[in-house]
Symmetry: C2
Subunit: 247 residues, 2 copies
Amino acid sequence: MSAPKLARVIDIHALKNACSSCSLREMCLPIGLSQDEIDKLDQMVYTRKRVKRGDSVYRSEEKFGSLYAVRSGFFKTTLVMEDGRDQVTGFHMAGDMLGMDGIGADQHSCNAVALEDSEVCVIPYGRLEELSREVYVLQQHFHKVMSREIVREHGVMLLLGSMRAEERLAAFLLNLSQRFTSRGYSASEFNLRMTREEIGSYLGLKLETVSRTFSKFQEDGLIGVQQKNIRIVDSEGLKSVLGRDPS
Amino acid sequence: MSAPKLARVIDIHALKNACSSCSLREMCLPIGLSQDEIDKLDQMVYTRKRVKRGDSVYRSEEKFGSLYAVRSGFFKTTLVMEDGRDQVTGFHMAGDMLGMDGIGADQHSCNAVALEDSEVCVIPYGRLEELSREVYVLQQHFHKVMSREIVREHGVMLLLGSMRAEERLAAFLLNLSQRFTSRGYSASEFNLRMTREEIGSYLGLKLETVSRTFSKFQEDGLIGVQQKNIRIVDSEGLKSVLGRDPS
DNA sequence: CGGAAATGTTGATGTGGATCAAACCAATTA
DNA sequence: TAATTGGTTTGATCCACATCAACATTTCCG
């Protein structure tokens, strides 16, 4: 009588951890894989890890061993200069992959910090390499994920190198909105998980400038701001902030 | 009498194009491969392409098909915004890999333009995928190359987001110097292949600021500048420009 | 060669965003 | 309910870099 019960417990546990039943499978590693192939993934991704707000998944200089797929929650990645200045290099949400910076030198080169209580799937890198030699679609997909990270960073470079404060913040909001949308959340209303200072650090601005610009957007009827809550009122207007000359 | 002659011509040609005899094999794809494996590479990299100064290897939106290893010469990669503003996202020299931005969306997302007459090895991406499924060391190496590109871009983000003009230029010069060194050229004297405007675009500065900062470094005895020729006089001094507060 | 175009330098002035400073607000904790 | 803490807003002022402008130098090419 107890054996079946135990079995069921294990089943439920397996189910909970499986890529095959993950709601993110369409935007995470399993994209395009057959059932067979996803089963292989399930064997590879055998750990889930909770990360409390403020804790990190990995830190700069730490030995690299695994990639991490964000299962739930919200992360920032940061770089720190010798003199202590630091910079946010990205914000990451469910379905995003973390840790690819570590492959090249076999140690991480940034910190991945949870901005709220979160959960990641641990993907042992050696296993991923193995499996992607066997499963073509997986190899292909993994390469795309890395490539897209490169392209994402290109975009940030453009933002930091060529845009004015208002453009940066507009681009930031539109990008967040788009990413929430593609995850099935509202495009027009969401909660920021990061502080003004973190936004500023990401955008190469000071927190006061971020705050002032939010206020200006609000006055101009583009958005509604109330602390961390953002409503996008006029998304076309926001878009038109990009690439319009200073006025 | 003519057969051997022809054969020799072909040999020389093959030799010229072969990864196995390439002087860059220690910093390009062949790193760590056995003779056997390099022979396979030779079959994959069967085209060389000359690119004249000003011409591009690929352009944004173009269909992606191959990666390119810089064999000789010097390149910049650039992004263009809708409104025409453009931004240099990198400078690339012998041994560097170009085109990885194209994998994710199957089309290139930047322009790769030769800053001097150059030569690239064409690496058909499908073949690279195939081969890296067979040859573990190649897979590993390719992943490292992509990862390092991510890390390089992190560095640029830090530079653009957190450094002042002098720091940016010092970091730029030190980086160039280091890359020339690792290719066997002088660490202390080299020729810039790009204009002040291109440097400025890369560093998020105007060309006038670049020019002024060069002059200042010269006055301070850190470098010697004569148009495109740069001599690094006091590399420790240059390093100390980084992360020192405005003075 | 010589003239035009591109590139680089330097000066004078302007400005977007940084810095400094003071409240304000929301969430905890006592 | 008050006190504390971390985050946000807003105003006043400052400065690093942009902009505008004039000129110098190099490169290109008929």
